[in-house]
Every structure is written in structure tokens, then in C-alpha cells.
Amino acid sequence: MKKPRVAIFDFAGCEGCQLQIVNLEEELLSLIEIVDVVEWREGMSEKNPKFDIALIEGSITRPEDEERLRDIRARAKVLVTIGACAGTGGVNKLRNHMDQKVVGRTVYGADADKSFLQVGTVRAIDEVVPVDLQIPGCPIDGREFTRVVRTLVLGGEPHLPEHPVCVECKRANNVCRYEYGEVCLGPITRAGCGARCPSFGMWCFGCRGKVTDPNVDAAHTVMASYGKTVEELEQRLALFGS
């Protein structure tokens, strides 16, 4: 069997998801046994114009990003996004709720007007080109990442959980964050993280994006019964652009 060629690309993001891949260490070595990594800025210096699977990190924030992304899409058989920035826009998308001039000045000060610092609306990858699969999370879960790659290599269709984080909280014997009076996004957020945040005493931030069929209306409705407002819910949802 010929090893599938994999290329990893990054756009606007913290590169934390790529770091998760690097952090796989020994698992990464096993992964390289089954795929051929042909381009990866963070992990190697070679480049290759041909590949089968493109893994994309980061969101699209500049006009030149869009052009580059379209080129990658045209060359990839399978395009997989990794992480929240690529999947939903991620924390970058918070910017879309603000005055872009203020954002520019806050970040770049007097240089904000320079032509190469002009930025536009933040978009997730699937708002620009068709995406075959999203590996969600901020950052991605290393185990899920390797599972998806293995399934792709085996020719299968990788399957992400379609149920919410609550399932994993129950399995972990966690006390529901709503009992602590917190607005937790667990009930509408895609599972797969092992309910990491609730297991460590925080509410779910929703970094993995929404479940397949999220009942957002229900989330709005139940806020009142916990003495919370819809605005508090919306604020939480905005953090990862969903």
C-alpha cells in the first residue's frame, strides 16, 4: 500500500494544534510509519506540491489567505481542518464583534494603518472552501487526531461523536456545572474531549463547536431557570465563534 501524502498548513492561530501533533512524540513516529508527511512548516523544511490529505490549522483573516487556501483545496483530495480556529473561526472570531479600527489600533498602535496590517472579517475554513472533515477542539485532542488519521489511512470514514459533552461528564462521575450556578456549554457542545474542563472544575467553553443537532433554543429557554440570562449564554458561545 502506498502511503498517503499528508501536508500540514497553518493560517491565523496560535499554532497550539500543531504543537499537539508535535507533542505526540512516540505516537508521531508511529504515525509517520503509515503516512508520508510532505509539507509541514512547523515540523520540517521540505515542501511538496503534491499531497493527498491537507490538514489545516487557523482561520482566514486576510485576502491573501483566501487565495492560498483555494490553492490548497484544489490540490488536496481530502481537506481536514484541525482545531477551533479552522473549524469555527475560534477565538479569532471575537474580533468580528468589534470595530476593526479599534482592534487594529489596540494591537498595532500607530502602525495599524500600514497596508500589510490590514485585516478583514475572520472566517472559518468551511466559510471559504468545502471541508471534508473537522477535527475540533482548542487545542485538538492528540488521540482523536491520530484516530482520524488512522481511519483515513484505512480508507474508512472517520466518525466524530454526535452527542454532547454531558455524556462524558456522566461517565466521569462529574457534578453538573449547572449545580454550581455556572453557564456550561456542555449540553450543546460536541463530545470527544473526555469532558476535560468540567473534570477539572471549569464549565465547558464549547471549544469543540456544537453537536450535530444542537438544541440552542433549549439552551436559551433554560437560562432563566438557572437565574442566568441569554446574554451570558451568547457571550460564552461567542468565545469560540459559534
Binding site: 488512522r150 470514514e157 457534578v175 453537536v211 433554543d217 429557554t221
Partner: protein, 677 residues
């Protein structure tokens, strides 16, 4: 049986002594709540808990467990159990009742060896409730107090505990108290009686307005009630109600492939019928909407389980109420609302037939409350291992024989022939490695198993002959069937089965046989056609009405040509649209063929198989032509996972397609709303 009294302070040292001998899983505090967990120190034990977050079921049916492991080269084997005897300490009566119910589930029909082994290794120490939880309603369900189903029961009376053993294992535990035991006085026993009385009256934070035995009748009247829509508006489909329930045991099966791609394990994971994926089949068809999934849970508890096992599968622990964020899971609230809307449920004279009762082959068992269920009936059939032996021995390992009969471990079979028959479908002929014949009947199915990819239920398309081979035609709609396509003659696959019911061909002798097949529906009925043809003299005419979407989807073309030439056989064909090939048959849905079949209703048996949408029209037409529902056989498809009536995925209302089906008479399913929707 022995009843003794010990001072409260003795419990800690007794626990320490016990801990030196056996693993103890006991109630402990966690974040202001309680959980069952391995007891690391006797001081952590709590017997004053209100309720645990998770039921003790997880120690018999873990969240995740291995069903088999496989390695490079295709070999696989049942897992070696590392389970050891353990004491489950601090089980409240309602959970004792739930365990007895689960025993009934996992020991009925094909036994589940994993559950049964752990159950045999467990010693159950129950304790009466000292602190009612905020949502407990065990008092209404008859499970506030149990007098059976445990090895030892601890009841606190003042500064003492009364310990009562029911089994040899319980006696052994009492023996560990040594000199500390006293004989309880009649006054002590009266005080224990008072605790029970208090709990029967007191564990009722919600008051059910009818006896639980009435619930199946209530449910039979409530299927189309608007409550399911209303309540589920705010349902997150998060499955929390399932995952904390002591009587929710459904599971999913998944492959866990190791990094080298060559080895891994097949695991089962706790599942919940509220979850989005639960009732989806390969190809993505969703058999239950959000509100239907919400309804299904209540029907399982109060209608389907009572029909099948004879008990209402709710013990009133209140965990679902605790766990539901939008606050819609309270069974008492739902049942009471339904009682208001359907007061006739309480009038015995109008007892309607319960949803899904039609298929019950045995007389439906009388519905008992959960506590009565715990009496030494079928529910508690476990062979208790000798207590002393249990206290001494290390790991109890399943014998080889045990592993061989493990229903989750497939047999190996070799692909002896493979042929692409349409764009989407491929024909396979398989032979079991052992050389034995499969021994299937027409209409049954097998679970085809590819290590590392998964399992899929596949209909057997060949008739029951003496040949050591069997055939199937597989449509590529998921990971397993796609991977099967990449395999070739000589390759091996796993096979479990045959499973399910069959077309009762031998009971139909003397009749005309009408086969109505839509698309790939011809595959399972082909087995029946072959069986009829091999005894052609015993039957009247055989008429086959075969409809498909387009000519290129036509299956078994060569064989159809042969059938057509046989005396007494007529084959009629239709396509929805003439595209992709020449066509000489009819154009239109398969129902256009029915008037041409010359059906004599009184002398005909119909075998119908096709996509869900086909059934509605075909069945309506056959009935209007004068056929009786009991003379029409249908073969239904759902997401069969375990094949042995345990995992819950293939359920249609109260029936399991993998066991009660896939072949049903129309009479059996016509009143099951989920069957032909």
C-alpha cells in the same frame, strides 16, 4: 440467613479486615456528592449517603470494556478477564432492585458472559437509606425497602447496625465481625421495622398518582399524547437521564485500532437512547426524532420492559431528575400528567393492548413492581460461588469453554467467491473455516465482522441447503461494507449468527407464494425463493414482483431468467424510471405490479421486503386486495449491533428486530408505530 447487631464503630474495623481480603467498591464522598469507587481507606466509607451520581451498574457493565482483541494477520480472541471478586458496599434498596432487573436482562436468552461473570464475582452489601435524596421516589415504586437480592443488608438503628445475611457470602461477611456481634433484641428488630416503615413512607419526594403496575396500561393510551413534543422542546438529547439510570443498559460497539493499524480491540461503550446517533443506521437514516427519542425512554421503562420481563424498569432513584439540566426528565411528573389526561387508564375494564405487545410469543408476564421482582424468581438465577472460596481465591478466569461460547466472538469464514453485481452491490459466497454449515433459515442474518473496521448486519441471500457455504449481496453504505469490497476470495472475515426469525416457508405449503421485493430487498427474500423452489411441488404458484429505481440496480438477473422459465413461476418487474439501460418491464412503483399478480387472497402468503417507504404502499394495497395481515410477512431493517437482544439499538417499540425479527407478520407489526414509519 443470619441477623446480628454490631456497634456503629465496628463498621470501620470490619471494613479494614474485609479490605485485606477483597477488593471493595464502596460509597464515598466526591465534591459534595457521592460515588461508588474503589475503597482505599476504610475511613472513606459512607453509609449515610443520599444517592450516588452513578448507579453501581457500572461495576457490572463498565462504561467501556473489551469484547475481543485482534492482531496483525487477522487473529482475534476473547479478552482475558482480570476481574476479581469484589464487595459492592453501600447499595441502597432501589439499586438492589435495579441490579436484580439487570440480572434478568443479561441472563435471559443468550447470556452476556461479561456481565454474568462480574455479577458472580460480586458480593452485594446493601444498606437502608439514612438520608433521602432530593428527588428519590422509591417509596412509590415499591423499592424503598428490599428483602432479597443482596448478600448482606445493613440497617442503622441508633448507634448500631443490624446486619442480615441472606447467602453464604453474606454469612462469611458476618463472620468477619468476629466477637463484635450481638444477638439483636426484639426491640432492635422493631426499630429496624420502623426504619423500613419510615422509608416506605418517606422516600417519596415525588408522589406517583397510580400504582406502578398501572403504568403499562397508561402508556398504551399515551403514545400520541402531545406531552412528548411539549417536554422534548427543551431536550438537549444529552443522554444524561440514560447515563445515570440504574436500568439503562444499552451499549454501542466500536473498534479501537492501535497506532500500528494491525492490532486493536473491539469495545463496547455505554450508550443512551436519547443520543443523536442511537437510532441511526448505516447510510444515515434517523429512525427517531428528538421527541421520539424522548418518548422512547419512558416507553422502555414503563411499557416495553414490563412486557418483556414483567417489571417496570424504574426503581425511583431520582437520578435522572438530578441530572437533567432543562428539568424534563422527571418520570413522576410525566406519568402524573398523563394520568390527568388519560384517567381511563385506571379503569380496569378498558385495559387496552400495550404498544408492541403483538409480538410477545409467550403470554405477557404479569407486571410486578420492582421490589416484588426481587423475590427469588428468574431474576436471581446466579449460581453463588462458595463464599469462603470467593474470599480466598484470586482472579477467577473464564475457562476455555467459556471463551468459545462467548456470543460476541465471531467465527472465521473465508470468502470463496466475489462478484460485483451492480454499481453499489457485490455478491459474496462464504464458507466457515470450521467446515460446519451455517445452519440458517431463509430470512435470517449474520453479523459480518472485519477486525479494526467493525461489524455490520447482513442478510443471508441463499436458501437453507446442505451446502457448507452461504451467500450474501452487500450494498456499500458504511465502513464495513466499503472495506468488504476491498477483500478478495481467500480472505477471511468474522461471522456471528445466524440471528433472528425466518420466513416460515415449511408452514406455507399448499399456498401460492407472492414475493414483493423493492431494490436490495430482493436479497433476503431470495433465500426464501430458493427454499420454495427447492420444494416446488409442495407449493402453489410462485409470483415475484420486483421493483427497483433504475434498470442498472437489477440484481440476480441470470437467476431471474432461470426462475421465469420454471413452471408455476411468474416474475414481474418494474422500475421507477427508465434510465441507464434498456428496459422491457413495467414503469412505476412496485405496487403497479400487484394487480398483475393474480392474487387469490385466501390461498396466498406474501413475503415483502424493501426500503421503509415501500412497505406503506405495498401493505395497504395487499390488504385492500383482501389479504389478511397474518398472511403477509415483512422483513425489517434496523441497526442491529449485538444480535442477541441486549444492546437496544434495533428496537422497534417493544420488539427487538435481531431476535423477534427481522421477519415479522404484518399482523405483528401493524400496530407498532415505529415499525413501518
Amino acid at each position: 440467613m443470619r441477623v446480628v447487631k454490631v456497634e456503629e464503630s465496628e463498621i470501620a474495623s470490619w471494613t479494614r479486615t474485609l479490605r485485606q481480603r477483597q477488593r471493595i467498591v464502596a460509597v464515598q464522598e466526591k465534591d459534595g456528592h457521592f460515588v461508588f469507587d474503589d475503597l482505599k481507606s476504610a475511613e472513606d466509607l459512607r453509609l449515610d449517603h443520599d444517592v450516588t451520581l452513578q448507579p453501581p451498574l457500572r461495576f457490572f457493565l463498565p462504561e467501556k470494556e473489551q469484547l475481543l482483541s485482534f492482531s496483525r494477520g487477522g487473529g482475534y480472541r476473547a479478552p482475558e478477564s482480570d476481574d476479581k471478586p469484589f464487595v459492592l458496599l453501600g447499595v441502597h434498596p432501589y439499586d438492589v432492585a435495579a441490579i436484580a432487573q439487570m440480572d434478568a436482562v443479561f441472563s435471559s436468552g443468550v447470556e452476556d458472559p461479561h456481565y454474568m461473570l462480574r455479577r458472580q464475582l460480586a458480593t452485594i452489601v446493601a444498606c437502608d437509606v439514612e438520608t433521602p435524596s432530593k428527588n428519590v421516589f422509591a417509596g412509590c415504586m415499591g423499592t424503598a425497602v428490599v428483602r432479597d437480592g443482596y448478600d448482606l443488608l445493613l440497617t442503622r438503628v441508633g448507634r448500631h447496625y443490624i446486619a442480615e445475611s441472606l447467602t453464604a457470602k453474606g454469612d462469611a461477611l458476618i463472620a468477619l465481625f468476629g466477637e463484635a456481634v450481638e444477638e439483636p433484641t426484639p426491640w432492635d428488630l422493631q426499630r429496624r421495622e420502623a426504619v423500613w416503615q419510615r422509608n416506605r413512607q418517606g422516600l417519596r419526594q415525588h408522589e406517583l398518582d397510580c400504582p406502578p403496575e398501572m403504568l403499562p396500561r397508561l402508556m398504551a393510551l399515551s403514545y400520541d399524547d402531545k406531552i412528548w413534543q411539549e417536554k422534548s422542546q427543551t431536550c438537549f438529547s444529552c443522554g444524561s437521564c440514560n447515563l445515570v439510570c440504574p436500568t439503562c443498559y444499552c451499549f454501542d460497539v466500536e473498534e479501537d485500532v492501535d497506532l500500528d493499524l494491525g492490532s486493536g480491540q473491539r469495545v463496547r461503550l455505554c450508550d443512551g437512547c436519547l443520543l443523536e446517533e442511537f437510532a441511526k443506521v448505516a447510510g444515515g437514516h434517523q429512525f427517531r426524532s428528538r421527541s421520539e427519542r424522548y418518548r422512547h425512554r419512558f416507553y422502555r421503562k414503563a411499557s416495553y420492559m414490563p412486557q418483556r420481563f414483567g417489571f417496570v424498569a424504574c426503581v425511583g432513584c431520582g437520578r435522572c431528575i438530578d441530572a437533567c439540566v432543562p428539568g424534563i426528565a422527571n418520570p413522576v411528573e410525566v406519568y402524573n400528567l398523563l394520568l390527568e389526561r388519560h384517567p381511563e387508564a385506571l379503569e380496569p375494564a378498558t385495559a387496552p393492548v400495550a404498544v408492541g405487545a403483538a409480538v410477545a410469543t409467550a403470554p405477557a408476564p404479569a407486571v410486578a413492581t420492582a421490589s416484588r421482582m426481587v423475590s427469588p424468581t428468574a431474576a436471581v438465577t446466579l449460581e453463588p460461588l462458595a463464599a469462603e472460596q470467593l474470599l480466598r481465591q484470586g482472579a477467577a478466569r473464564p475457562t476455555d469453554e467459556f471463551a468459545v461460547t462467548d456470543p460476541y466472538v465471531p467465527e472465521q469464514a473465508t470468502i470463496v467467491e466475489k462478484k460485483r453485481v451492480t454499481q453499489l452491490e457485490t455478491y459474496y459466497k462464504l464458507r466457515l473455516e470450521s467446515g460446519r454449515k451455517l445452519g440458517h433459515k431463509s430470512g435470517q442474518f449474520v453479523q459480518i465482522s472485519l477486525m479494526g473496521i467493525g461489524e455490520a448486519p447482513i442478510s443471508i441471500s441463499s436458501g437453507p441447503t446442505e451446502a457448507p457455504t452461504f451467500e450474501m449481496v452487500v450494498r456499500r453504505v458504511g465502513n464495513v461494507t466499503e472495506a468488504l469490497e476491498a477483500m478478495n476470495p481467500g480472505d477471511t472475515v468474522g461471522v456471528r449468527g445466524p440471528y433472528g426469525t425466518a420466513f416460515p416457508i415449511s408452514d406455507l405449503t399448499g399456498k401460492n407464494i407472492l414475493v414483493v421485493a423493492g431494490g436490495i430487498g430482493l436479497v433476503p427474500v431470495r433465500s426464501a425463493i430458493q427454499e420454495v423452489l427447492s420444494h416446488a411441488a409442495d407449493f402453489g404458484r410462485l409470483t415475484i414482483a420486483y421493483g427497483m429505481r433504475e434498470p442498472r440496480e437489477r440484481l440476480f438477473g441470470d437467476e431471474i431468467a432461470k426462475w421465469q422459465k420454471l413452471p408455476g413461476v411468474q416474475v414481474l418487474e418494474s422500475v421507477d424510471r427508465v434510465e441507464g439501460g434498456p428496459w422491457h418491464g413495467q414503469v412505476g412503483p412496485v405496487t403497479t405490479l400487484l394487480p398483475l399478480c393474480g392474487i387469490v387472497p385466501s390461498r396466498t402468503a406474501a413475503l415483502v421486503c424493501g426500503p421503509p417507504v415501500m412497505y406503506r404502499y405495498v401493505l395497504a394495497d395487499l390488504i385492500s386486495m383482501g389479504m389478511k395481515p397474518e398472511d403477509i410477512y415483512v422483513s425489517l431493517e434496523r441497526r442491529m449491533k449485538c444480535g442477541i437482544g441486549k444492546c437496544g439499538h434495533c428496537q422497534i417499540n417493544g420488539v427487538y428486530v435481531c431476535q423477534d425479527g427481522p421477519v415479522f407478520t404484518y399482523a405483528q407489526v401493524k400496530d407498532l408505530p415505529e415499525a413501518l414509519s
